[in-house]
Amino acid sequence: MNIAAERHGDMLVVRVAEPRIDAAIAIQFKERMRDLTADTAPRVVLDLGRVDFLDSSGLGAIVAVMKTLGESRQLELATLTPSVARVMRLTRMETIFTIHTAVPLAAEAEAGATHEA
């Protein structure tokens, strides 16, 4: 599964290079994310810029990832493609996640989180 993580200060950036997070890979995605986020970074930013398709199984997997991080760590999403953004909007899950238009690597370039309407 094409997912890689890089630590940037207090943030772990996880770049998902899989084009689909769907029923076919939901379980492997959760397992891989559990391994990658064993790192204790307080913020985990999931870069979904390469993900063209997310169904409700994929959404559930992302929610599961957030839950495994525990109460004190944040899961944030970045670079949503239109299809993925649509799923987040229709399910109202965009209110649950902090969503960035780009991975917030430069603190001075993005003052805090950008919430997508």
Binding site: D22, A23, A24, D55, G60, L90
Partner: protein, 201 residues
Amino acid sequence: MRPEPPPGAGDLVRYPDTPSAPQAVALRRVIPATTDGVRQALHCLADDLRACLAGRVCGEAGMPCACTGNSGGTATALCHLHDDLCARAELVLAEVFNNIVEHACAGRPAGGATGTISCEMQLASGRLCIVVRDDGQAMPDGDLPPGTLPILDVARHDLPEGGFGWHLIRSLTNGLCYLREPCCNRLSFTIPVMQSGANSR
């Protein structure tokens, strides 16, 4: 369900144009009810739909694009409307097919015959008409779930990981109808070619 050829990645059957509805071309695929079969089929169905919208399947030179009315002898460039319709259709079909695999056709012995899904799409009059059949168990209570979204105003550890599918289906379709036929389930619905707000992102 009438006897089908053995399901592979999905066999494309093109129905002939009818004189009264020259753009009402129907595309049909038969799909094994497995997660991998569904994933493969979604790729094929998205390609089928793009080809139909681009006028290639609909006929030879002069067949107008269902969205824009543009005609062309060769494949026309896909407009953003095509992409958005294909994305919405793919999401709806993914949710419908996944429900069939996970519920209607669940419980079959491993290594044995999988269930079968058939998907028929017909593009006409500004909407995509779809009929999905499966040979799995009937819907509990004989009817569709309401598609109410799970409550999100809960503690993080209580956030739902499922229960979104029917809401997505209902949000993106019109005329959703379920019937139990003698040995299969039949789900029909339409997807508008253009949906307001669809291109707002």
